[in-house]
Assembly symmetry: D2
Homo-oligomer: 347 residues x 4
């Protein structure tokens, strides 16, 4: 019963097999491998964007930090949600890679509303040399609380951003889960919705460690290459990044894997929904559940070996006190695990 | 006949197998995997350094830049050879990660002499607020021109450095090749020779992408961890770095692989030595050969499919003009390839 | 009727005279002038801190950014009020000089409460490599909204900060105005109240451009000197900074000037208090007034030549709409100006 | 007998007087003073460049670092002479403000030759992601060893630079001395000779602390303003920078002051030329002399109170050993001082 994170789950067998297949003899290094040519072609097809510049890095933070640094000046503010990964979980990587940009926290929580964005833009004082200037808008899709922006919501935000000269970036660490959730195409959820730069995450969705960074306008492609090398993120044996991504793209493996994760999450949510003591903190939309359970239930689950994030002390006087938890499903979670968890939670 | 770089060769089968073995079920992320505990224990044993702080990153540039940034202030100069990788091949990663330190080029070429170091220290003006202050001494072992510092040479340099308060760093991207060349132990070539921080490279020697950074004094361990995360070099699915390094350590695979590479290089050098037109630019000491051959010989080799770095134009009027080349052997090169190359070069 | 800013007022005659007096013949450069020796001795006496390290820079932003960079690591958060000058008015100078630290906004408005500080400390996650680590606590005294922390308030905050390992910094751009307001000594308002590093501002209080940075613990003095030079803030003809500060210190000129400014502000506040249409946004405690007046009154004042900051449009349909304004008094404002302003506002 | 540095001499009386004149009443802050409008107009006239963007900062290092950062990317190399001030005397300010650019040392000594520049350009490897990319060419005029580039030399260098896409910057800390030496106009020595950005130094030539930075192409003007503020170099009471520069421009005071300094240097060189023990290290071209004198002569000069930079130990066995020295003349040095120095040196 493992629901700690999609970072803790195993890699897909197809991805591991691809590493072995790529391990035949000599190959040019530093991104000049032939596999990367195929990765580029397939991603351009998948995103219906033949001019796009496509790069691979090994961590989600590298994708975010390098992409944002390429589109942000050091005196600009990156507009993001207060709970954005770039704000809460990257130990100042965005500030480091941009050379000192600020993160401007827009509204509350994990999801930005047009109203909050409009307000944030209006109060910043762009054009006044003493203050932060407008930098990009950064959206996480899926958000850090498991929400998925609808296509209409994305378009409303990017439209507003563009009116004020903001470039738009999507942190797509869970891009696949969002596409599955919305039932749309990658193009619809990115450039057709006004996104300029996107990361297409592989790591959380079954790869070992690979993320694609996609610039729909390739004007800054060379700058990104220099930033990637300067950031020590250009792999010498790059073929092993290419091979992961290629396996992930072949036969829509990325989509299948996210479909499994989202379905597991739906099954889990469905089962939990009927429990009298469980309260959802929001409506699960992709592969994450945020809810509360009484302390006693947490104790029972922990004793049975369930692994997940919770807030508050497991031991305490009040057995009925509701304590928050996060449950994340990846492709590998089985129905049996889910059903056992539900059963234990409902005892 | 592939002699372009040890970055272009395949990964060792044991390393690939270890990835699959590591892919069973759930595991804590971000370096908290159990495999990493074993990596730490084995590296501490191998280096006879039970207090050492041990970390993994995926690229050699990350190892260099993060290690150096941890021991260098932005107003200090890192003392290195003019041909050092950190100076010539990392697109300012050291400057970026240190926040603007200078690289102080000591002497000529790829290898630092005590005399040149002594001179560089004397002219720097340490203590004067207008100029660079003394930062660490950085040595590449094997050097970028294939030289190997003897243990006595290392001790002479580090002793001099310590007299002036310099911390010492060894870029060990080819650490294993140097150990094999010297017939010494890892401890002898590192802390026993006065090295404070070392990178123990896996990538060039048969891994997919993994380097260990070892601080013999763990005082700055936590700072390194923060720098690694801030630099986007902390892997979520860290078990796959651990697994590579563990396979590399088991049964002295690192030593066997470097022994193969060095032996291949020796065979190649031996065969080339008798050719009348070949001139060695220096004496091969590990797995790299720097030499010149006439243009016509290069043409013949290229036509036959040989792959390696050369300087100058392959086509040209003067068939006899000697053109420099670099030949690098990795573990995978076969005797047949070597012998064919020698045979073609000697025609 | 000039109430725009204490940055817009003239310099004190004594300060200008001191420049001429300092202009006799040769003098060592870069801070080695004899005048600086006297500055150091007098500041140490004034602050009852004989071990303090004392430096001069020319701008308030330089004082803040260099002092904070000396006590903050790039992965730390500086705790400050949302309206702090370092957050709102310095175009990312703190982020630039620290190499990417975050500003952690504590509570609401311009003044930090112990409760808000305690909350901010508790939620940060110090010790978790993914998030901001605890950096210094930065307080502005006078605050940007004209508040003055009492000595008890300062002690409560610094005591809490020290319990969590935070160094404390006071942005004393208006240090003198606060001392006058509290009727205390500089030592009482700084190290005796738990402040570790303070800027002692001269520019806003009648100098041309000079601020002292004082480290009560001199351990980081040399680092500050290197940072000042690297930041291009070490003056070659430093005697002209020393001369300003020396004049400012002689005969308590700093105290007299702030007394004039605060008294002017009190007279202005007193006169405005009786006006039926005026609403104070807070109680004036030093040399700044934040209040609202009806649009029609603003129009009348502007037509008569009054200069001050206001928010909102001067022209508009609603003559009665209350519009916010800020009034700042410096040493040079005359009673006649004040009385005329009051008279116009009350018509 | 003061020849230590033009940084140690007094300010011009006209400059001091201008500060007092500027100290009348209220004035807008942060560069919006009316005096600055006149400074801009006069500099545009003086440089025959009506579109130029003109800014003031208070230190020469700020001028260099901010100007270079505006025209250099962090992965680029700034081409400069090995003895350039930006390389030797600014404690990494260029690296700090650019975010980690390298200084690429061209040729030997203080002055760049077209041949050396051509070589440096050819070996850099521009376009290869692993190495430094071409950044600007930075020339000091007067150089740090007292040389003055001829107009033809400047044009040859800038022409070569532009062929390779390099922007050109002139460190004009002693711009006036060079103009006097060449007998040319400011325009001829800057944009007409291919210079894109220049600093027009006031501090060394009789101001208190002010340098103009001039961009002949104003495209990056706003970026410079943001960098200046972010670097804490925007003065609140900016009128006192404007006033200095205005006085310096009026009646060609800048030219008169440099003429005095250069004439003093010529008189000193002339007198020293006949001494049998004196050896010039190069031919004095502006206001600096580099020469050697026997130890005994240095001792005699020091005993008599002469102040200047020398290398080597004043006390030593060998009275005849030639020891190098630098003599710098500023506007304030008198003929009597000069003649006495010559007389003492010739005893």
């Amino acid at each position: 019963m493992y629901f700690a994170s999609d970072n803790c789950g195993p890699a897909l067998p197809e991805v591991l097999a691809a590493l072995s297949e790529a391990n035949t003899g000599y190959m040019p290094s530093y991104g000049n491998d032939l596999l990367m040519d195929e990765v580029k072609a397939r991603i351009r097809d998948l995103f219906e964007a033949q001019d796009a510049a496509v790069y691979l890095v090994a961590t989600g933070t590298a994708a975010n930090a390098l992409a944002l640094a390429t589109i942000t000046q050091p005196w600009q503010a990156i507009f993001c949600a207060p709970l954005a990964h770039i704000q809460c979980d990257e130990c100042h990587a965005p500030e480091f890679f941009t050379g000192g940009a600020k993160l401007r926290l827009v509204g509350e929580g994990d999801k930005i509303s047009p109203k909050a964005l409009s307000h944030a833009i209006s109060v910043l004082g762009h054009g006044n040399v003493h203050v932060s200037q407008h930098g990009p808008l950064a959206l996480s899709q899926v958000t850090e609380m498991g929400h998925v922006y609808s296509l209409a919501e994305l378009s409303a935000l990017t439209s507003l951003a563009k009116q004020h000269g903001q470039i738009t970036y999507m942190d797509g660490a869970r891009f696949a889960n969002a596409v599955v959730s919305l039932g749309c195409t990658p193009a619809e959820m990115s450039w057709k919705a006004g996104i300029d730069v996107v990361s297409f995450g592989g790591t959380k969705n079954g790869c070992i460690g690979v993320e694609a960074v996609i610039f729909f306008d390739p004007a800054k492609a060379w700058e990104f290459e220099l930033r990637r090398k300067r950031g020590a993120h250009l792999f010498s044996k790059h073929r092993f990044l290419s091979a992961q991504m290629l396996a992930y793209l072949l036969d829509d493996l990325w989509h299948k894997s996210a479909t499994l994760a989202n379905a597991a999450c739906a099954r889990l949510a469905e089962g939990l929904r009927d429990l009298p003591d469980l309260v959802f903190r929001n409506d699960p939309q992709a592969n994450m559940i945020f809810a509360t359970l009484p302390r006693a239930t947490h104790q029972r689950l922990h004793e049975a070996g369930a692994v997940y994030f919770m807030e508050g002390a497991l031991t305490g006087h009040d057995a009925d006190e509701p304590l928050p938890m996060r449950l994340v499903c990846d492709w590998s979670v089985s129905d049996a695990q889910i059903d056992r968890f539900i059963s234990l939670a409902g005892m």
